[in-house]
């Protein structure tokens, strides 16, 4: 008879070795996210005349495994803002719940004061900063698209550390390397917004998603794309990268099975 009740129902010491008590800890350091698990890759966004366009693919990876292929990483807030999420998907879902409850709370008061994209970005960056200061980060890098208080197009980014910045075109993750140069060539940074049409912006984002699909191993050819204008939000969540041309792959040397 085993005299120690704590040992009941556990592997026997004499056979399996001493039991690892660290699994039973209720005190000691609390487990916080120290690395992301299921992740989304790039989000890209660009401002145009009268609004903002934003896109991301529909993949959620588990390490190098393409785990979920139908995950919508663009989330709509109210009728004035879109948040695009890169990074941990469970943290994204947590933030999405947060956003939903704020949206409901805001709409309860009928005073007509609604949060715009800029307010939302400020709020989210505070959430990120607070969590990083508690050493319990929300492992995301987000873009917020919409309008500011003056009704001007607004596009800004926030990450897991609470760092924020804004620019005419933005991208998270791999997109910062691959999409930004394309967008910068199409729309140089001193281009007045009036010279960029919605169609041009959307077309540019499609092109960027395609390039990311070609070269980012954690990306997918199914993607979501959305625009925010004064007329409202338009989201397409089941887009496919079209007119793919893998001819360039033939010319790549140094990988795979080719002989010379």
């Amino acid at each position: 008879m085993e005299h120690f009740p704590e040992a009941w129902g556990r592997p026997r010491n004499d056979i399996y070795g001493p039991y690892d008590h660290s699994y039973l800890q209720t005190t000691g350091p609390k487990a916080h996210t120290q690395s992301p698990a299921v992740t989304g890759t790039s989000v890209i966004g660009v401002k145009f005349n009268g609004g903002v366009a934003i896109a991301s693919d529909n993949l959620a990876s588990y390490g190098s495994l393409a785990r979920f292929t139908d995950v919508k990483r663009l989330r709509v807030f109210g009728d004035s803002a879109i948040v695009g999420f890169g990074g941990d998907v469970s943290d994204m879902q947590h933030i999405d719940r947060l956003l939903n409850s704020i949206d409901i709370r805001e709409n309860y008061s009928s005073d007509g004061n609604l949060l715009n994209a800029k307010n939302l970005h400020t709020y989210l960056s505070k959430v990120f900063y607070k969590r990083r200061s508690e050493f319990n980060p929300l492992w995301n890098h987000i873009l917020v698209a919409g309008f500011d208080g003056d009704g001007k197009p607004f596009l800004s980014s926030a990450d897991l550390l609470g760092t924020t910045f804004s620019a005419p075109h933005l991208a998270t993750g791999f997109g910062a390397h691959l999409a930004i140069p394309i967008l910068r060539r199409l729309f140089p940074e001193d281009t007045p917004l009036e010279n960029i049409s919605k169609e041009q912006a959307v077309e540019a984002l499609r092109e960027c998603i395609k390039v990311l699909w070609y070269r980012d191993a954690r990306s997918l050819d199914k993607f979501s794309i959305a625009t925010v204008t004064k007329d409202g939000i338009e989201v397409k969540e089941d887009e496919k990268v079209e007119a793919q041309s893998w001819a360039f792959a033939e010319t790549i040397r140094g990988y795979g099975a080719q002989v010379n």
Partner: protein
């Protein structure tokens, strides 16, 4: 005790209530800081003070944005900054810088609300030091410079380390290019290594006395310091934001820097 996660002691026998209850510390892989680069610089004169900073924000070799201000008005109106009489520049980890700026701004506003008069620069400088020191063991990772006009109307400049030690100075450069700019300032503002020609031989040579410089000279020094820093430091560039505080208010001057 170098192994993590499991107990190493082999002689643990049986299960006892006297088992150690503290788990060995697990490794924390989340690092709550990043360096957003950039440089700031402040110079005080007899009836003015200038604070300047470049507007580039970086993450590693990436440029986040070409316009992220590092110099802020403290205690003014929220949108326009009207009515502010103190300037603060922060360089280092931008999210901490933003948080620090907002805290100081709230403190200065509460002071005005509670005392019915604006906070003096001297009091604000002391308060900033305590704010920084309160986070001595999880610091705001920033180099702050505070500027304003003192009780006599002279330019006042205070510089800080991340944990709150501070002193009033004539001039100070901070941030990634501080080591490039500071020697230049030593020579051009405090006339270090400058001697009065023909005043003697060898050690008898008389050093040139430092005295407050006129505003035009100081503005030009700031421009020169930054155009030089841009040449030699990759994290500095894009734009120069200068704020000049005089008894008639705060003037903001933006001029482009090289974007390479």
């Amino acid at each position: 005790m170098t192994s993590f996660g499991r107990y190493t002691s082999a002689e643990t026998v049986g299960y006892s209530f006297s088992q150690p209850t503290s788990a060995p510390n697990k490794e924390h892989s989340f690092y709550p800081y990043t360096d957003n680069g950039g440089s700031t610089l402040g110079i005080s004169g007899s009836d003015f003070a200038i604070l300047a900073g470049d507007t580039r924000s970086v993450a590693g070799y990436n440029i986040n944005s070409r316009y992220v201000p590092k110099v802020f008005k403290i205690g003014g109106d929220d949108e326009s900054g009207d009515g502010a009489h103190i300037l603060l520049s922060v360089v280092g980890f931008a999210a901490d810088g933003q948080a620090l700026k907002e805290r100081l701004d709230a403190v200065v506003k509460m002071y005005k609300y509670q005392h019915g008069k604006p906070m003096s620069v001297r009091a604000c400088a002391q308060r900033l030091s305590t704010i920084l020191y309160q986070k001595r063991f999880f610091p705001y990772y920033v180099h702050a410079i505070l500027a304003g006009l003192d009780e006599e109307g002279k330019g006042a400049l205070y510089s800080y380390d991340p944990v709150g030690s501070y002193e009033r100075e004539q001039c100070r450069a901070a941030g990634s290019a501080a080591s490039l700019i500071m020697p230049f300032l030593d020579n051009q503002v405090n006339f270090k290594n400058q001697y009065i020609p023909g005043s003697g031989e060898g050690h008898a040579l008389e050093p040139k006395k430092a005295e407050p410089l006129p505003r035009e000279t100081v503005e030009q020094l700031v421009r020169d310091a930054f155009t030089s820093a841009v040449e030699r430091h990759i994290e500095v560039g894009d734009g120069l934001q200068m704020m000049v505080i005089t008894k008639s208010g705060i003037e903001e001057i933006y001029s482009p820097l090289k974007k390479d």
